[in-house]
Subunit: 122 residues, 2 copies
Amino acid sequence: MTRKDFRSNCSIGRTLDIVGDRWTLLIVRDLMWHGKHTFGAIQNSAERVPTNILADRLKRLEEWGLVRREAYQERPIRYGYDLTEAGRSLEPLLLEIMAWGHDRLGGGRYDPTTGKSWDAEG
Amino acid sequence: MTRKDFRSNCSIGRTLDIVGDRWTLLIVRDLMWHGKHTFGAIQNSAERVPTNILADRLKRLEEWGLVRREAYQERPIRYGYDLTEAGRSLEPLLLEIMAWGHDRLGGGRYDPTTGKSWDAEG
């Protein structure tokens, strides 16, 4: 998908064209806050993203310039992933989504300024 | 889906369990800001949400207590939809998603305090 494929001029619609699914922002979360920078590390997160979905989402994030992939080992080649500056600009959006899930759905909370976490209510 | 079906304790994961798709937050946008309170009005939005998806998402939003459905006409019965207080609490999240899409994807902007809109860059 490219810019010309956006469903509408709406900024919300455009953002959801890229990150509007159950998984993409969890991958961004792992890269942004949890120091997970390999395929395997992200896959080990509690939500257990399926392999094919993780591969697809990382590829899309890279195509949109939100994630950068770099080889950190040759033979066999291994890739590491990190957010670009554009990817990091999703942080306020992630914080707002987290705040809502904490207030309304009893989910845990994470403070990126201190690295401290609070458990979910269950 | 109920609370016990959340994928994890993560507040972001829980929020995405409910609104993490391409359509739900567009429906919330229409109810919140654009005065669209009938099935037909929402369906006429620029993104052209498919009938079956709109019916499913309205039902889920109602089950989660974010949307309230009320009959506004008998014979034939017609329903109107509106956000509950919990549904309206999604406004800061919507604003953040809009800001990102405006800054990064050139989408239009809407100011809910004035009702004024700015066109997309294209």
